[in-house]
């Protein structure tokens, strides 16, 4: 076994250490301020937060499941008119950050706030995750099995219950988990819509009163909730099985006259999920008086600069770990890969809180500098980037590498001259996606940025804090254009689905 490149090992170990910071901070808080935390948790307010958070998470998860499932079934399995158009429409909310969606409604309806507003906004914003997962599962499920079930005496509804649903259940559970985690860690939309959940309370505890004990105690509860969600998903997901080759023509179910009604319903959902907010944001942006175009240009430039820098940093670390773990895998590389995932599903607010503590107490040199912000992005988005960067490398067939070796290249030379060039387009797409995610990030950016750094997201946030919703509209629109739309276009899952539906 050849030794892995020393740079990959060094970067990998560094990233693993960084990823342990949030966990370490939480453990420290748990031991150090246990009693204070307990006292904090015993407050009536904490119970209220808990109920709010759980209520919102459960209701959003169920609503997103219902919306996504109906969209997926109609576009993939029935003779819905214009199915590809509706598939695009169903994924469109992916291009709109949830806090931008919230702003779109708030700028038209100033009283749009509280539980129902948050439920409405987040359900629409998260339904594409369910839609994408369920459509893929439906496409790969066995159509002929459903016809066999009909011939064995089951009617249409019984077939959906006994054959279709069991085949897509793992995908449904996985996507609902994603939605639940998304809702638990959501900050921007919830804060803008003034609904109190843990993320907003943590942020306010820290920002408003610099009460780190209280913030940390709430963070611990939030992380515990996150772990509960993950546990339940594992427990009740059901066995995964490989669908046998789904051969045969994929016949669509004839809806008869109901197809027009179905199209109409999907149109309404699409209107709420993308149409209304987009129109309102465009309207406000066009009617802006005394609008400072130069300022917008500056913000776009600074946002892009930070995002690109973060994308490059994340990409380098992800590449190092992927190369190490995929081509020179050892027990250590596996442990590093696993550790990088440790921060996965941790709410950004919690990660940011840990880094503030880390920067202020342990490494004062980077506190309130761009480096702490980049470190935050690295910890938050490395797990995703590992998948995006690792997959194209893993997809390069071993045989190609072996042919290169037989032509006289060393293992390292085969890697740099053959494997990486083949995987390069995929790797670059992964880095670009990481950058676009950074562009939209709000809570960690707010807590970790240097004072002099303003981005589109922070500027939008500040405008909403003084209730200047219409002023925030151009920033929101700019975010959709430079971050949302490219991210949707790069979304491999969405692209694959749309090509299969049409």
């Amino acid at each position: 076994m050849k030794r892995p490149p020393i740079a990959a090992v060094a970067l990998g170990l560094l990233a693993a250490l960084a990823s342990l910071i949030p966990i370490g901070y939480l453990l420290l808080r748990l031991f150090e301020g246990f009693e204070a935390a307990l006292a904090e948790l015993a407050r009536a307010r904490t119970l209220e937060l808990l109920l709010n958070t759980i209520g919102l998470t459960v209701s959003v998860s169920l609503t997103a499941l219902a919306i996504g499932a109906v969209q997926a079934w109609l576009t993939v399995r029935t003779n819905l008119p214009l199915a590809p158009v509706f598939a695009v429409l169903a994924t469109l909310p992916l291009a709109i950050p949830s806090y931008v969606l919230a702003l779109g409604y708030l700028s038209v309806f100033p009283s749009f706030s509280g539980f129902w507003a948050a439920w409405f906004t987040l359900s629409l914003a998260t339904s594409p995750y369910v839609f994408l997962a369920l459509s893929a599962a439906l496409i790969s499920s066995n159509f002929a099995a459903e016809e066999v079930a009909r011939s064995l005496g089951k009617n249409r509804w019984q077939v959906i219950q006994s054959v279709t649903w069991p085949q897509v259940r793992p995908a449904a559970f996985a996507s609902v988990l994603l939605v639940a985690l998304y809702t638990l860690s959501e900050f921007g939309a919830i804060a803008i819509l003034r609904f109190d959940t843990f993320t907003r309370a943590i942020y306010n505890a820290y920002r408003g009163s610099f009460d780190r004990t209280s913030a940390a105690a709430l963070a611990l509860v939030l992380v515990a909730l996150t772990l509960v969600v993950i546990y339940f998903e594992r427990r009740y997901r059901g066995d995964r099985w490989q669908a046998p080759t789904a051969a045969g023509r994929k016949r669509r179910i004839d809806l008869g006259r109901a197809r027009i009604l179905a199209a109409f319903g999907l149109g309404i959902i699409g209107l709420f999920g993308a149409g209304v907010p987009l129109v309102s944001l465009i309207g406000w942006s066009v009617n802006q008086t005394g609008f400072d175009l130069l300022r917008l240009g500056e913000l776009v430039a600074s946002s892009l600069a930070v995002a690109i820098a973060a994308g490059v940093v994340i990409g380098i670390f992800a590449l190092a770990i992927s190369v190490w773990n995929l081509r020179y895998s050892s027990r250590l590389s596996g442990a590093v890969d696993l550790t990088a995932w440790a921060a996965h599903a941790l709410p950004a607010v919690v990660v940011a809180l840990a880094l503030v503590y880390f920067g202020a107490n342990l490494v004062p040199g980077i506190y309130q500098s761009i480096w702490l912000l980049l470190l935050g992005y690295l910890i938050l988005f490395l797990p995703n980037a590992l998948g995006l960067v690792g997959t194209p490398i893993a997809l390069v067939p071993r045989s190609i590498e072996e042919v290169a070796r037989s032509q006289g290249l060393s293992k390292n030379a085969a890697l740099t001259k053959v494997v990486l060039p083949i995987a390069l387009p995929g790797i670059l797409a992964g880095v670009a996606l990481a950058s676009l995610t950074v562009l939209k990030e709000l809570p960690a950016t707010l807590l970790l940025r240097p004072n002099e750094l303003d981005t589109l997201a922070t500027e939008l946030w500040q405008a909403t804090e003084v209730l200047a919703y219409s002023q925030a509209a151009p920033y929101a629109l700019a975010l959709i254009i430079i971050a949302g739309v490219p991210a949707l276009a790069l979304n491999a899952q969405a692209r694959k689905l749309i090509s299969e539906v049409s």
Partner: protein, 342 residues
Amino acid sequence: MPLLEINDVSVSFGDTEVLSGITLELESKQLLAVLGASGAGKSTLMRLIAGFDSVGAGSIVLDGETLSDTSKTVAPEKRSIGIVPQDSALFPHLNVGQNIGFGLSALSKEAKAERVRELLRLIRMEEFASRMPQELSGGQVQRVALARALAPKPKLVLLDEPFSALDAELRGQLREEVRQVLRAEGATAVLVTHDQEEALSLADRVAVLREGKIIQVGSPSEIYNSPADVGIATFLGESVLVDGKVSGGKILTDLGSLSALNNVAEGATGVVAIRSENFYLQPNPTGDSEVVGRVFFGHDALVEVQTPKLRIRARSNGPFAPEVGMRVTVWVRGAVNFYPSS
């Protein structure tokens, strides 16, 4: 009265007529093979019988009950017709026993378990009841799919190219098993296939489907020995087509004067179809024909022969197949089918 009657059924998708004027009958406990190339309309016919599509004209009657006509299409679940699709389509989330028992919801728990055991015994897979579909081999998957279709004792079973995914050896073996299982269950079945060997060896009756029309219906030997036209003759097995003219009750061809199986009109011109196994190659150093190629299969060989005017392919018993370069005399054994040109 036949169990299944298909009366003058036609169906179009858009502007293209996929099936036209299909009329077929099937007696109880018989197996009908619908033989046709891909695109002939076989799968469409299956879907019409199963009730997944509606007929454009005509009717389908099973056991005296009209299932499909222009005014109605009885739902698939109310037809008592079992299907075995091409890719078997076992339910991936259920084990073998649960797959077979899927359609038995009307039975009591004990009766259901007993019926599942009975079928597992019949397909000789008793010890596989709790296996998942993805743990089975290709042949086992098809046997389970057949058992699942037979479990509720349907009036009719439809088999859609059930062996096409298997390799040749397994196919022959499974074919025999399927025949036994169907017989043991007393099932009536329709098999669609593009494999003439499958159709001829398995079926009681064969219907040849071409471009949406039934060209010929008959017993396997009728179909093989008296193909209705040149197309079927070449489709059902290797045949050599030779021009001929009727004269004095015989057909004059480049291979000599041959007798016809069918009635021929004096003076008519057309072609004769001669099966490759009906040639006899007599080794003869002064013969007028020469062996120019040979493909050896073990049990027999396909020998290519250049006669003074034609090049033919003859099937010859393995050990006695002449070698390339040998001179032979070509004989045609028995009578041939003559197809006058229209």
